[in-house]
């Protein structure tokens, strides 16, 4: 593994730059978003439960973004060997699992209200559920592997297979006769009048929250590394990263 050069790496500079704006975005957007959700018209068929639209798909976008980022950052770590990329992969997996958990919780509430049952084995639901399992396993793998360098290597490999399996899962579930009842695409003008703005604000809030949490998590991991390095508690790693101290 190559040691990071002197000074903060690209990821550290990026997280430092993103922390403020995403935090402010969240603060500024929260009240208008809540107000827009409250004022949005009630759906004529589904009633008030439909308002979960302004929470559920935005959370799902962020969760998918998290898993994609985990695989990409893991891939770059594997290629470049820079440990900062692994920190990004790990952080976005953790935050992605958090968002995916919220998706898997909010989905059934909506489903109960409109489809009449908590869960259906629709392809998209099933693929999301399987992704959730894959990334829970990813986090368990990191937790149960000793040595941070080894954990990073294992996790990079697993994160990449986890993404590769998504399309295969999709075909497999359709093959097994999972009936698609999940609405296809919201971008095709299927939103009623007055629903577009709260949906847009919800998406911005969710993505903003995702980026902000990942940024904070990456920074925390960086601080932890620096502490371990200073204390020399982490054996080999302390030596490895302490060498460029001038």
């Amino acid at each position: 593994m190559t040691a990071p050069g002197p000074g903060p790496s690209g990821i550290e500079r990026l997280t430092a730059r993103l922390r403020g704006p995403t935090g402010w975005l969240l603060l500024v957007i929260l009240v208008p978003w809540l107000a827009a959700v409250a004022w949005a018209p009630e759906d004529s068929v589904q009633g008030v439960v439909q308002k979960i639209l302004y929470v559920h798909p935005p959370l799902a976008f962020a969760a998918y973004l998290g898993f994609l980022l985990t695989a990409l950052a893991g891939g770059v770590f594997r290629w470049r060997g820079d440990e900062a990329w692994d920190r990004l992969a790990r952080s976005s997996a953790e935050v992605g699992v958090l968002f995916c958990t919220l998706v898997v919780v909010t989905g059934p509430i909506w489903a109960r209200g409109t489809w009449g049952r908590w869960w259906s084995w629709d392809p998209r639901l099933t693929v999301t559920l399987l992704l959730w399992f894959v990334y829970l396993a990813y986090l368990l793998l990191r937790g149960f592997t000793e040595g941070s360098e080894r954990a990073a290597r294992f996790a990079a490999v697993y994160g990449i297979i986890g993404i590769a399996v998504i399309p295969l899962n999709y075909f497999a579930i359709e093959l097994a006769g999972g009936r698609a009842i999940h609405p296809e695409n919201l971008a095709r003008g299927s939103l009623g009048a007055g629903m577009g703005l709260p949906f847009l604000l919800g998406t911005l809030a969710s993505l903003g929250a995702f980026v902000h949490l990942v940024v904070r998590r990456v920074e925390l991991e960086g601080l932890r590394n620096r502490l371990a390095e200073r204390a020399g508690a982490d054996g080999g790693r302390g030596e490895e990263f302490g060498s460029w101290d001038t």
Partner: protein, 221 residues
């Protein structure tokens, strides 16, 4: 390539002398068949035929988890795993040798399990044996690819026996669903369903390519 053959030969010879892995896997999968028979009793031939594909693959996947866990656990003795990592060859070939050995051993267990299963559930597997063997082989190829890659990973973690199924099962869903669908098609019509065979072939290709190229990163010196 010679490295892959040498490892395949070494694993099979070790197994032939001890026969512990094959026996443990076979006894375990018989037990699974018996438990499934009582958990989901089939009242008539029609119901047995409907349940059989899924149950057969449940028995196969459990046996595979048991076997794949052992595949690398036995390399821990005398630090043989570090020896493998130091072999002067592309590590993809090491993967190929280990996966091929697991494939052969799993195949033997699957063959005897199928006989026991046919007797226990009273389904006629003999009539479709050649096509069933193709489906089982395609399914096992995917299982052994992912299982060998992740077996090398999980053996280096705490709770290694627990870690392998947690890592492996969510990835094996496409293989399992396609294999179950193909087996169901065979039992219903006696012919191979091209759609599910296609999915098995694509999944196998993806898993073998990813595992072959990633194996380098999961072995430690």
């Amino acid at each position: 390539m010679n490295v892959a053959l040498a490892i395949l030969w070494k694993d099979l010879a070790t197994e032939w002398r001890g026969r512990d892995r094959v026996v443990a896997m076979a006894v375990f999968s018989f037990l699974v068949v018996v438990v499934l028979h009582f958990a989901l009793p089939a009242r008539d031939a029609e119901e047995a035929r409907r349940l059989a594909p899924g149950l057969l693959w449940v028995a196969y996947i459990f046996a595979a988890i048991l076997g794949l866990n052992r595949a690398f656990a036995l390399e821990l003795e005398n630090e043989a795993l570090a020896g493998l990592a130091l072999a002067p060859a592309d590590r993809g070939w090491i993967f190929l040798g280990k996966a091929a050995a697991s494939f052969v051993i799993l195949g033997a267990v699957q063959a005897v399990t199928a006989v026991v299963f046919a007797l226990a559930f009273d389904v006629d597997l003999a009539a479709i044996a050649p096509s069933l063997a193709i489906v089982v082989a395609l399914g096992s190829l995917g299982i052994c690819a992912v299982g060998t890659l992740l077996g090398a990973v999980s053996v280096r973690t705490r709770y290694r026996e627990v870690m392998l199924p947690l890592l492996m099962l969510p990835l094996l869903v496409p293989v399992l669903l396609a294999a179950v669908d193909a087996t169901a098609g065979l039992l219903e019509t006696g012919t191979l369903r091209w759609r599910s065979v296609q999915l098995l072939l694509v999944t196998d290709a993806v898993f073998w390519i990813v595992s072959f190229t990633s194996f380098e990163y999961v072995l430690d010196e």
